[in-house]
Amino acid sequence: MTDLETALDDDVRADERRRVPAPPGEGGGYTARRRAALLRRSVGGRRSRAAAREDLYEASQRTLVLRRFRRHRLAHLSLYLLVAMYVCAILAEFVAPYDKLHSFEDQKYAAPTQIHVVDEDGGWHLPFVYSSRTEIDQDTFTYETVVDTSVRHPVQLFVHGDEYELLGLIPADVHLFGTPDGQPVFLTGADHLGRDSFSRIMVGSRISLLVGFGGVVVSFVLGLLIGGLSGYLGGRVDAVSQRAIDLIISIPLIPLWMALSAAVPQTWSGVQTYLAITLILSLVGWTGLARVVRGRIIALREEDYVTAARVSAMRTPGIIGRHMLPALTSYLIVHITIAIPGMILGETTLSFLGLGISAPDVSWGSLLQGAQDVTVVSNYPWLLAPAVVLVIAVILFNFVGDGLRDASDPYQN
């Protein structure tokens, strides 16, 4: 054998040890491997490998980021779960088995319904629930759930139930799951009027997850713009905008919120009011981001590459956009992933103070306000489920943010 052939054999055996798969389209086996090894050693082979590396170098920022993000499995999974949450929020009425205002007779403070597959005698069935209702214990004034094991109600997918309008347009009455005969299935129990907590959490997620979005976008854009310009241009622009920020920060939020609540026209619905107030508050809330962006940009504008860009007669927005922003990206991403959950939590706090969403609209915050009660926490703790969902949503946002931050870090290999 020639030296080349020995070397090729070595390559093939090395490949097999490393379990490199045979190249496609050439049939399997040893021959294919030898051909591949030959290709690798040849100039043509090196050229094609080099070409692949070139692709990698010339790949756009976005492709790189996405590719790295996909490798961060936790963040990747979180993104899918988050998207699933948003889909549930949009299709809330479908996912939820009942209407948010549907109150069941004799089901006040019902405990979460247990779904069984084995009945009392040990027989196997498709998933079912027993009949149950709640009764007042006249000594303790608490509601006890009473289960009647003689009747079984099957739990099925895609049942007909309360009517609703999908996406606000299409009338429908199909729900993801439920019982065909109307026996309620309370995944997370029922509230003081016998309404399904799970359905209300689903519908509430729409307000909690979506409505504040606009506010976050507005304050994000404003904060970035003003902070960036202020930091980069310095001098008088900086001084004026900083003083403006100081002024705005000092405005007390709660009286502002109360005043706005009073000023909004009576005819607006609860959600419209909330949206309007959120947007207005975001005009006041961009200051945190602005200050940090400014801080970073002030640090960065002395960097050499910025000087170089200036010297090359690049225009200010371009300099900020192409050169300084990427260095900010990690903080911006962290900021957004904290801002959105912050918006969700802000809504919770405002509802707690009675200034946010109120009946008949429902959001996680208003549900938690109802659960913020000694009686409920002691006797009916399942009504704290919105807090669990809230925590999960926030955690998911943060994992995604983490992943994005790591993926966009230009210094990682």
């Binding site: 945190g288 903080y331 002691s378 870090d409």
Partner: protein, 336 residues
């Protein structure tokens, strides 16, 4: 330090017109919600079964000066503050505002400072650990816990913890002190009682703050640690600790320092919602209550105080930033 001092001096001078503007703005906003304190008083009276007729309401308004146009009320308020150092009287408490604040602010500051110190003492090392040991099990646990801390609303945690303690020990936290020690003189027992009650607000406040700081520190530290100069430093033979301390940590603190100044008003103002839930005699519940009952002078004084502290805090932040980050200079940008 010369230019820094000049800068600080300039900023503090600017503070005065700013405060005037803020005072007027807050006064307007406080007045915005419909009605005034006399309406609140009449409503409270009505809900207890009493009633006032129109004459009595008018007399009350005249007494409190609430029948004057807003500008006049504002000018009177400003005049009293500037010339008599008199912040007015609270309608609801029937006490001078300065007295109420003198009682509450020191207490608020103590609780806030302790919880901030605890928060930073825990969060900074944890954030560093999390960044340095990226993707380790420890990192994931820390990350997860800090997210949970961020996510759960403080008032809910407070209530649940309170009831858990009550269920298991029969001791119910109803304020800073239990009834026997409320107005008692200081003693060892009273201190123990304080500890028994104050750990709950401290835990709630700290847990909420840790998450945010850990996240931000971890992110910005990871940024810095990836940079070339860190590689260089390592290559030069510095230990990890030295590498960390020399530059990345200081630069990574940049975003935290931007907001450090705002801890000043937060310390004095206290956390409103958690204080309300836990019945703490701090500034937060007073502010909330005075806003809701439109107790004008009390609200105005607190807001003015917090605004002034915010401005001072901003100056502190800027100075801290300049000192910590050698890249920052406040002179005119060379681009101009």
């Amino acid at each position: 330090m010369g230019p820094v001092l000049r800068y600080v001096g300039r900023r503090l001078l600017l503070m005065i017109p700013m405060l005037v503007l803020i005072s007027f703005l807050s006064f307007v906003i406080i007045q915005l919600p419909p009605g005034d304190y006399v309406d609140t008083y009449a409503r409270n009276l009505a809900s207890e079964g009493g009633s006032v007729n129109a004459d009595q309401l008018a007399a009350l308004r005249a007494q409190y000066g609430l029948d004057q146009p807003m500008l006049v009320q504002y000018l009177v308020w400003m005049k009293n503050i500037l010339f008599h150092w008199d912040f007015g009287t609270s309608f609801a408490y029937n006490q001078p505002v300065s007295e109420i604040l003198a009682e509450r602010v020191p207490r608020t500051m103590l609780i806030s400072l302790v919880s901030i110190a605890l928060t930073w003492a825990i969060a900074v090392p944890v954030g560093i650990y999390s960044a340095v040991r990226k993707y380790s099990v420890g990192d994931y646990v820390v990350t997860f816990l800090s997210f949970v801390g961020l996510a759960v609303p403080g008032f809910l945690v407070a209530l649940v913890l309170m009831l858990l303690v009550y269920d298991h020990t029969g001791f119910l936290i109803t304020g800073l002190f239990s009834p026997p020690y409320r107005e008692a003189p200081w003693s060892v027992d009273r201190v123990l009682d304080l500890l028994r009650n104050v750990w709950l607000p401290l835990v709630v406040l700290t847990v909420a703050g840790i998450g945010g700081i850990v996240r931000v520190l971890r992110a910005s530290l990871l940024d810095e640690l990836g940079k070339q100069y860190v590689v260089t430093a390592r290559a030069k033979g510095l230990t990890e600790g030295q590498v960390l301390r020399r530059y990345p940590l200081r630069l990574a603190m940049n975003p935290l320092l931007s907001t450090i100044g705002w801890m000043l008003p937060a310390t004095v103002g206290g956390e409103i919602v958690v204080s309300k839930v836990l019945n703490l005699p701090t500034t937060g519940p007073v502010l909330l209550e005075s806003i809701q009952s439109q107790d004008m002078y009390l609200t105005g004084a607190i807001v003015l105080l917090l605004s002034a502290l915010t401005i001072i805090g901003t100056v502190i932040s800027d100075v801290a930033l300049a000192v910590a980050d050698p890249r920052i200079r406040y002179e005119r940008s060379r681009a101009a």
